[in-house]
C-alpha cells in the first residue's frame, strides 16, 4: 500500500495538495494566511483590481510567501473576453505568473460563465503563452473544446459560486472525466467537507474553493476539515471502491454456522 496520494500536475508544476484555495472573504490578512497554511494548499488564487490611489494599503502579497505558494490569478468579475484577456496580461506583468484562471461571467445573478466568451478568451491567452484554467459549466462538449484549443485544465463548477450546494450533477463530472485527458478541477459550489470528499472520489484532479472555508463560523477548523476531506476522498478514489449492489452480500463465512 502506498499511503501517499499521487501528485496533482498542472502545466509543468506538481502539487502535493489537491486543494486550491481562494483568498477572498476572510476577516483579515492574518486569518487568510493562517487558513491557507492549515489547508495545506500550495496553489492560491487571487483577484486583480485597481489600486486605490492615495491609500497605501497593505497587500495580500505581503502575507503569502511566493516561495511557498503558486499564485493563480483569476479574472473574477470580468464580463467580456477583452476584460479577461487584459486582466491576465496585467497579472503576468504584476509578477503573478502565467498560470491563469479564466472566468468570464455571463449572468450576474447566478454568476454562471459565458462559455463562448470563455472559449474565445482562453484561445487568445493560450496564443500569448499562458497556461489557461477556464471556469466553465459542467458540460462535456464544452470541456472537450477547451481541451482541443490547448487549455491546461478545465474547471467545471459543482454548483453556483458561493452557493455551498455541493456537486449538483456528479454524472456530468464523471462524463467530463471520461472525455478529457487534461486535469479536471472542481471550481465553485462546495459547501462542506463531504462535498469535497465526494468530488475527489469521482476522480477529479483537484478542487478550488473559497467561501466554504472563509465563510465558515470557524474558518481555520474548516480549512483543516477540507484538507482532510480532499485527502480522504482522493485516497478512496485511488483505493478503488466496491461496486454498488442492490442486495446484501454477507461478509461472514456461511461455513461452520451453528445450526439448531
Amino acid at each position: 500500500m502506498n499511503k501517499n496520494n499521487e501528485f496533482m500536475k498542472i502545466g509543468d508544476k506538481t502539487f502535493k495538495s489537491r486543494l486550491i484555495v481562494g483568498t477572498g472573504k476572510y476577516k483579515s490578512f492574518d486569518e487568510t494566511r493562517q487558513a491557507i497554511e492549515i489547508s495545506g494548499a500550495e496553489m492560491v488564487t487571487v483577484a486583480v483590481r485597481r489600486i486605490e490611489l492615495d491609500k497605501n494599503k497593505d497587500s495580500i502579497l505581503n502575507h503569502l510567501d511566493p516561495q511557498k505558494y503558486t499564485f493563480l490569478p483569476n479574472t473574477a468579475g470580468c464580463y467580456t473576453q477583452k476584460e479577461a484577456v487584459m486582466t491576465c496580461e496585467l497579472a503576468r506583468e504584476a509578477g503573478l505568473g502565467n498560470i491563469v484562471k479564466v472566468e468570464v461571467i455571463g449572468d450576474e445573478k447566478t454568476l454562471f460563465p459565458d462559455n463562448e466568451a470563455t472559449l474565445e478568451a482562453s484561445k487568445a491567452l493560450i496564443k500569448e503563452g499562458f497556461h489557461v484554467l477556464p471556469y466553465c459549466t459542467d458540460d462535456v462538449v464544452l470541456c472537450k473544446k477547451l481541451e482541443d484549443i490547448g487549455c491546461t485544465a478545465v474547471m467545471p463548477l459543482a454548483a453556483p459560486i458561493g452557493s455551498g450546494l455541493g456537486i449538483r450533477n456528479p454524472y456530468n463530472i464523471k462524463l467530463i472525466l471520461e472525455a478529457v485527458k487534461i486535469p479536471v478541477i472542481i471550481d465553485a459550489g462546495v459547501g462542506t467537507a463531504s462535498d469535497a470528499s465526494r468530488a475527489m472520489e469521482l476522480g477529479v484532479s483537484g478542487i478550488l474553493m473559497n467561501t466554504a472555508i472563509a465563510g465558515a463560523k470557524d474558518p481555520l477548523k474548516m480549512a483543516l476539515a477540507m484538507k482532510m476531506a480532499v485527502e480522504c476522498g482522493r485516497m478512496a478514489y485511488e483505493s478503488g471502491r466496491i461496486p454498488k449492489k442492490l442486495y446484501a452480500s454477507a461478509s461472514s463465512p456461511l461455513d461452520g454456522l451453528v445450526e439448531l
Binding site: 487571487v46 483569476n74 486582466t87
Partner: protein, 67 residues
C-alpha cells in the same frame, strides 16, 4: 496635465512618463501592473513610455479573491 487614472480624473503636475507617474502618485504596492490606453505596458518600459493629456491609465495589483 489631466489623466484618467483608474477611472478617476486626475491633475498631474510634473510627470512625463509612466515611471515618473508612479513616483508622483507614490505607488508602493509590492506587485502592480499598468496599462496605458488599454495596452498593458511591461515594467521595463515604464521610464521610456511618455504620457499625454487625456491618457487613460490603469494601475492594478493582486487582492484577495476566489471564484
Amino acid at each position: 496635465m489631466k489623466l484618467t487614472i483608474n477611472g478617476e480624473m486626475r491633475e498631474i503636475l510634473k510627470s512625463q512618463t509612466l515611471g515618473e507617474l508612479i513616483r508622483e502618485l507614490n505607488i508602493q504596492a509590492p506587485n502592480f501592473a499598468m496599462a496605458l490606453n488599454q495596452q498593458v505596458i511591461p515594467k521595463s518600459k515604464y521610464t521610456t513610455t511618455p504620457i499625454q493629456e487625456n491618457d487613460e491609465v490603469e494601475i492594478v495589483h493582486a487582492v484577495g479573491g476566489g471564484v
